[in-house]
Symmetry: D2
Subunit: 141 residues, 4 copies
Amino acid sequence: MGLAMDTAALQAFLARDFGQVAGDFTVDSVGSEGLVLRLKVTERHLRPGGTVSGPSLFGLADVAMYLAILARIGPVALAVTTSCSMDFMRKPAAGRDVLAQARVLKLGRSLAVGDVFLFSEGVPEPVARAGLTYSIPPAKT
Amino acid sequence: MGLAMDTAALQAFLARDFGQVAGDFTVDSVGSEGLVLRLKVTERHLRPGGTVSGPSLFGLADVAMYLAILARIGPVALAVTTSCSMDFMRKPAAGRDVLAQARVLKLGRSLAVGDVFLFSEGVPEPVARAGLTYSIPPAKT
Amino acid sequence: MGLAMDTAALQAFLARDFGQVAGDFTVDSVGSEGLVLRLKVTERHLRPGGTVSGPSLFGLADVAMYLAILARIGPVALAVTTSCSMDFMRKPAAGRDVLAQARVLKLGRSLAVGDVFLFSEGVPEPVARAGLTYSIPPAKT
Amino acid sequence: MGLAMDTAALQAFLARDFGQVAGDFTVDSVGSEGLVLRLKVTERHLRPGGTVSGPSLFGLADVAMYLAILARIGPVALAVTTSCSMDFMRKPAAGRDVLAQARVLKLGRSLAVGDVFLFSEGVPEPVARAGLTYSIPPAKT
């Protein structure tokens, strides 16, 4: 299975289509195994107490899967998240970036399914796991 | 079933414990039926195109359920989200606040379960539905 | 919103298309509010200890939502369950049927979303809650 | 990490505590990577058309995760499924057993979290993916 977009193309897509949050993320790698997206944790991702907030983790998982799908099908800007189920397992470690490992499990004509594991950088036990589905708009002809 | 906290107490809790995001939310009502939390939508909750972002919707659902549980058990600052499953059904309407209706479905000793419906203000069809579970820390004695 | 199938039509559909399990279920009611499906609990739905098994509860929720969708769109035999998230909250009461209250929350062209609450008959607190999504095959023309 | 139960101990536990359905399942393997449980597909697991039914897939995922937890903590008969989110991706292949690969992702004092992938034997693409959580009863002292 070839890839339709590499890390540079994905990063450029992010900058163009996710303007406001693009600076939060770096595509660390992409391949047939999946995609790794980094959340560059700063003050505004934290809850009081210094832990990365739930919405920041959700956003990371969602963007990672979105890009993992685009890496396969190319820059279809309109794919929409239809569902997300997420288990939060451990507090993210303080002072570390969070990495998302996203895998596409199914790429159908109208629906894509994948899972994402979130890790604090350098910590082997996952922070959270998410299953996500996206609807893919019909190709225009 | 009596309530342990009213809207004023919940709003004060929010201001104290969720400093950074407290200004985004207003507790519109709380009662035995559940709690309504308002996301006062501003520029920074939007994706390009003007729709409220997924992380903003997730954060709204999470905070609404958190407060609905606290309204029942009092200000236990440590309850932790353990899982969330969310179905995204419709685009939020442009230029409107989003309201979360949160209900506690089970309040056990160590686990609470609830659901949340999100609506664009004035629009009857739901934007999203979430099921959330929280672990409740053992009471200190 | 009109209904495409009434209880008799749904029960007949069940008998024809779900042969093996149709005898387990009765459509108690259907209306614009949703559908109530009854699991007539017998020995083979029970786990040791006498509680209704997880797979029986899952099957009840799935069939209830399937029929709730058909009540709206008519007998489209091919709609497929694409995801289910379920919270199990309380043990079903011994010796009672389990009732599923299913609601369609969104009926799109290719995706339907709904939720289901399960109750032991006569007990107000829910046994479980499920969110389900179905893909709807394109109409043949 | 050592294992508290091997395949023979797990199979014996299944026979004793899941009487009615124990014959459906074989523990193919267990190790530090996880557990593989086989659903020996027979007529009564099928829907009309010959595909393995949703409740059979749910039951397989649930029992697989249950046993994967027991392999780690020993025969604690009372762990209870608290939530399950499942994505159904492909029809199971006709005439083949279904294999569940279950992994424990978190084993806390009161909550265990894991994921399960289901495969038709010999087919590399997954049939379904499930995330499951279990509450673990407090140890008696």
